[in-house]
């Protein structure tokens, strides 16, 4: 991978988004900080966009790109819904997104986690800005994903309840908020529950403000070393006036070093 090449083009703005499939639905989560360079543009930004009433999309990358791509494809899906008279399948949304993104060869900076329910059940897809798609059971994206993925990988289990899935989402996004400078403030989450009749999805939104664990008090005075404690092995005195030098202390190398201060 050419490091110079990756510096050009759209910059990734900070985000942590995630999605989890549970028994009977899917949860999408996101942080709420939007940055422009080093300035926080929006403290309560909504990064989970609605595509159809049963399909939602979390977006990382360039905020304008994620917002507009989701809205554009969402409107195409709405037309398809009206023309066919039935709710859209999540796979359809997926294919439309990747067919839009691939021709731009990655320059449309939309990294998306697509989640929703259709008559076949709950689905979660990862859509990259280059146009590749992968179905997943859980997914994290954005600059905070490195922090969130550890939480996800260790705590995810198949067939969770809705409450467990929401808690997992909150924990994963919180990890991103704490450890990534590009993510922050609070966690937004959207729960899409699978129901048997059309439109096959029931949506609810929520938010959570995380309180990070209290910081440990630093113990002072543990590492103070009194003056004169360090043993001098060799001392050379140089007189610049007379251009002479004298070795006043010269202990051999194998002299055992006296333990000092806290090392005792």
């Amino acid at each position: 991978m050419d490091p110079v090449k990756s510096l050009k083009g759209t910059k990734k703005t900070g985000t942590t988004i995630c999605g989890v499939v549970f028994k009977g639905g899917v949860v999408l989560g996101a942080d709420s900080k939007a940055t422009g360079g080093h300035i926080v543009m929006d403290k309560s930004c909504m990064k989970i966009h609605k595509m159809t009433p049963s399909i939602y999309c979390g977006g990382a990358g360039t905020a304008a790109d994620t917002h507009h791509v989701t809205a554009m494809i969402g409107s195409q899906l709405r037309l398809l819904e009206l023309n066919t008279g039935r709710p859209i399948r999540v796979e359809t949304a997926c294919v439309k997104l990747k067919r839009h993104l691939f021709p731009y060869q990655g320059h449309v900076g939309a990294h998306l986690i697509l989640g929703g329910c259709d008559f076949t059940g709950p689905h979660l897809y990862n859509v990259s800005n280059h146009g590749s798609v992968s179905p997943e059971d859980f997914s994290v994206m954005g600059s905070g994903s490195y922090a969130a993925v550890g939480v996800m990988e260790s705590k995810y289990k198949p067939d969770m309840t809705e409450e467990e899935a929401i808690n997992l989402t909150i924990e994963a996004i919180t990890a991103g908020i704490i450890h990534d400078e590009g993510s922050g403030f609070f966690v937004n989450y959207t729960v899409i529950r699978h129901i048997k009749e059309s439109p096959y999805a029931e949506v609810s939104h929520g938010y959570h403000v995380s309180r990070p664990a209290p910081r440990q008090k630093k113990i002072k005075g543990l590492f103070t070393i009194p003056r004169g404690e360090t043993e001098i092995m060799k001392e050379i005195v140089v007189d610049f006036a007379t251009q002479t030098s004298e070795i006043t202390i010269d202990k051999p190398h194998n002299t055992p070093i006296k333990p000092v201060g806290y090392m005792q």
């Binding site: 991978m1 990756s6 990747k98 691939f102 990655g106 990294h111 990259s128 280059h130 590749s132 992968s134």
Partner: protein
């Protein structure tokens, strides 16, 4: 190493196809990476094109998905006009033509394999669009370099399905051990005449770990 989520999703891969007495086995690892970050550890690189014809994908994830999708559409259309299922050779050449005509912008390599009536056929399409029909087995992707000689040594024509399955699992495990870009789980696809393709997913202990236990 470069860690940047703007990098394209890459299928650094180990994929292979092996003929056995009575059919064809396809095998692949399941890792996709973006630089040094593994973005999907359970990817499916064995994609169906039409009926008994499958393609193993390696290279850029977005590019291979798009080309395979185009080939699937093209084969479907072609089969309507032809009145029957096209041959494996047609499928492979459709993939090859697309890869060759767009070689400046695409980073793809495939193993296209399937059954023509009772006969198994394997085609290997390299980066840049060169196509080779392989007599007995083919391997591709970054991990294949580590196991090609292993396959050369261990493969014999007309092995049984069990033998060839053990060989493929062993080979992919070895490649996953040595190649950074291959890893995760092993996916298999068994194609036999007049039988529905069988998809097998091996994970955890079923993937042969190369780490020495008693040393």
């Amino acid at each position: 190493m470069q860690s940047d989520l703007n990098l394209p999703v890459d299928l650094g891969t180990t994929i292979m196809a092996l003929k056995f007495d009575g059919g064809l086995l396809l095998a692949a690892d399941s890792r996709t990476s973006q630089g040094s970050y593994v973005s999907n550890r359970m990817a499916d690189k064995i994609t169906p094109l039409i009926d008994d014809i499958y393609v193993c994908r390696s290279g850029s994830s977005a590019d291979t998905q798009t080309v395979a999708g185009y080939a699937r559409y093209s084969l479907d259309f072609h089969s309507q006009q032809l009145g029957k299922r096209p041959s494996v050779q047609t499928a492979a050449y459709i993939l090859r033509d697309f890869a060759y005509q767009n070689k400046e912008v695409l980073s793809v390599s495939f193993i296209c394999a399937g059954l023509d009536d009772e006969k198994a056929r394997i085609f290997s399409i390299a980066q840049g669009g060169a196509i080779f029909e392989q007599k007995n087995y083919a391997a591709a992707g970054s991990g294949s370099t580590y196991v090609l000689t292993y396959l050369d040594e261990k493969y014999r024509p007309n092995m049984t399905e069990t033998e060839v399955r053990e060989l493929a699992v062993r080979a992919v495990s070895l490649a996953m051990f040595r190649d950074n870009s291959s890893g995760g789980c092993i996916r298999l696809c068994v194609l036999k005449p007049n039988t529905k393709p069988e998809r097998i997913f091996l994970q955890g202990d079923q993937v042969q770990s190369m780490f020495p236990v008693h040393r």
